[in-house]
Symmetry: C2
Subunit: 430 residues, 2 copies
């Protein structure tokens, strides 16, 4: 078996997938257990300059070259928007192709129908990239959380608005200025309406609601408010009262009634959701068995989206192979991988030294560090107190080799100037 993939669309998402697909082709084939290739790509204009370098023979402007080609097993729809994406997906399913799509609008509006159609044709439809970019979410609902009765979802699932809200909060910017900044940095589209009015988040909430609450909710029926009316004063008052402001998508079940809403929301500052900043996404799910579980990461971007699309492609391919042959996924072990010796590990260190209270101790410590090529990032010295506690010197170093740090510790411990040198701790960057 040799899998052939057809790709519809070569915009940011399509080009991102094509680039990773070509670069990682061998790894992907190894994961699946047989060869796989990108066979055909639908574009609007053959001559347009591309974000990715593909052989001209791979490109076509005719959808039927992919949708009707019996050699193509998997179609990745990366056109975006409702049409012609929906029509193409249906045609591909009828032609016995499996579908992978990041298209939240199509799945929010037509997901259950598409899945029913696929079921009739024994096809698979995967849409992991439609919510939360590269954050594993859809698969978690379909598999890991499947025994749970989901009570609640609260999610930051639109990076554009979260970036704007973060800047309004931390820099005190008014909405317009924060939006302009987001556009300049590429976090907001030239036409940002679907993001700032909550439409995009409502699409994603409709998808999550079907998975979590088994409800078919038309996205246009989901209550939503955007963020355009928020002012710096709201952020100031919210902060004074202990809150951050986030655009939350909320789903909550009470018996058979399901609340679904998207709106700016005050969240206690100590809550994990309040701490999701910039263009990041987070989805909090509360199941009766798991309790609260949170998924966090980049919700958009060419590479995170490619990660999710490839996971779906690999999943479908493995599944198809499993139908042909008994096949147990094994734990791939790469024999060339070896443990790095601890002496070679690099880390910053926190050292706490109890020192005798006499001149020259700090100089001695500094020289000992310098001799071992360990440089100091910050230092706190506390003088001896009358209650008998010795002077303490606390140092955070720049990253250094474990072996150098150990040499420093040995020398300090050997010195009479220091009363005690407790075991140092390592320091991680954010």
């Amino acid at each position: 078996m040799h899998f052939k993939v057809g790709l519809l669309g070569l915009g940011t998402v399509g080009a991102g997938l094509a680039e990773v697909f070509l670069r990682k082709n061998e790894t992907i084939a190894e994961q699946i257990g047989c060869p796989i290739s990108l066979a055909k790509v639908l574009v609007r204009d053959l001559d347009k300059p591309r974000l990715v370098d593909l052989p001209p023979s791979m490109l076509t402007t005719r959808p039927e070259d992919i949708l009707d080609d019996p050699d193509i097993h998997i179609v990745v729809e990366a056109l975006g928007g409702e049409e012609p994406a929906y029509t193409y997906i249906q045609r591909a399913i009828r032609n016995r192709k499996h579908i992978v799509t990041p298209n939240k609008e199509v799945i929010a509006k037509h997901g259950p129908d598409i899945l029913d159609l696929a079921r009739r044709y024994n096809g698979d439809v995967h849409y992991e990239a439609s919510v939360g970019g590269g954050i594993p979410l859809i698969a978690a609902f379909k598999q890991d959380l499947v025994a749970n009765d989901i009570r609640q979802i609260r999610a930051i699932i639109n990076g554009t608005t979260n970036y704007i809200l973060t800047r309004m909060d931390t820099a005190g910017l008014p909405f317009d200025a924060a939006l302009r900044e987001a556009q300049e940095l590429g976090y907001a589209e030239p036409d940002p309406r679907n993001d700032v009015d909550g439409t995009d988040a409502a699409y994603k909430l409709a998808i999550l609601a079907a998975l979590a609450f088994q409800i078919r909710a038309a996205p246009e029926d989901i209550y939503r408010e955007g963020i355009t009316e928020l002012t710096p004063a709201d952020f100031a008052y919210a902060r004074a009262m202990g809150y951050a402001i986030k655009l939350l998508a909320i789903g909550r079940r009470q018996g058979n009634a399901v609340e679904l809403r998207v709106h700016p929301t005050l969240v206690p500052r100590e809550a994990l959701l309040a701490r999701v900043e910039g263009a990041f996404n987070a989805v909090e799910v509360e199941g009766d068995l798991t309790g609260k579980v949170v998924f966090y990461g980049r919700g958009a971007g060419a590479r995170p989206t490619a990660s999710a699309l490839l996971a779906d492609i690999i999943d479908i391919a493995q599944d198809v192979l499993r139908r042909y042959a008994e096949h147990t996924p094994r734990l791939l072990i790469d024999p060339s991988r070896r443990r790095l010796a601890m002496a070679d590990v690099e880390s910053a260190y926190y050292l706490r030294l109890m020192a005798v209270d006499e001149p020259g101790v700090l100089a001695f410590v500094a020289q000992t560090l310098a001799d071992a090529e360990v440089s100091v990032a910050s230092i706190v010295q506390r003088i001896a107190t009358t209650d008998g506690r010795p002077a303490e010197i606390v140092i955070v170093t720049h990253p250094t080799r474990e072996s150098h740090a150990q040499r420093v510790i040995e020398r300090l411990r050997a010195s009479a100037k220091l009363l005690a040198v407790p075991r140092p701790m390592r320091v991680e960057a954010e």
Copy 2:
């Protein structure tokens, strides 16, 4: 087809699984698409009082009643520890059973061998519950992150030590007192050595390292330091320098060399990992495509563990069925689920009112809220300033019905005492 499950062990984990299995049997069968039942449970003593009420005929003290019974398809090993768990797992695989286990010690030490053996016998081995309790993790590595080159893992994967460190940090407790408190609350075992010395975290890191870095790392070779030597002074200095102290399990790849270590670590307080408190777990994974992704939730407990074990059981059963028949998982839609009307949604509200600067305005606002049965949680009043900004009254209410809140807004907007009543925002609890 009717799936039969055998369970080895009826301690906290086994009893938790049995309880949920019986209570949710119908839902689970619906997820799979055919009946499933708990057939036999191995216990040490038939007469001991149980945490869960099972028919006496279901219990046995003879392992062969499960391991050698040709009618049992799936064996859940919930004995814990290396032996006899490892021996029983091998025997079950040779007898053509699929395995589900939460046993981190067995998987850390023998995972690759167990998976190789299962492969030879066409069996599946799932171990989602072995790391991070009910947090979807193992499946994410096997499926969602599969196209990524994982560069780094940083994880808080031992709830006992994280609870102790949180209490040392926030309450200034010395280690012994924090440990005693954790034991009283059931977050630490009577014999806590494996947790506080980092052994438990090293087992889990070995499992994650195989998935993320394709390395077979013996857990006893993983560098580890425990938390027993930490003192309140360390937390005070760390806080002064902007850090929290966490027991991190770190895996990092540089070419084919993989660092693996478990030790107390200083983490910048603004980092998400620094904000993981109490008995919670969090695993941060950095892939070349996804960037940083974080999984957060309860890492232990009977119910989260049961959630993961059931997900594995359902996954195996679905997979077996897929080998017999073409089968596309569909999106289950429950027709009885309906959207709750927005007017019936309950929420706390944030109201910002621009008021004329005259006596009685606050009394009027308070009366309006009272008339609509909306009670006030907190209030901030700012008097009018000489620069012409009006007086503002900011109120956070207790939870109330949307329809009540809307009535309040309408009445306030109709009053001449208020210059402006911007759209209110909803407030979520943590």
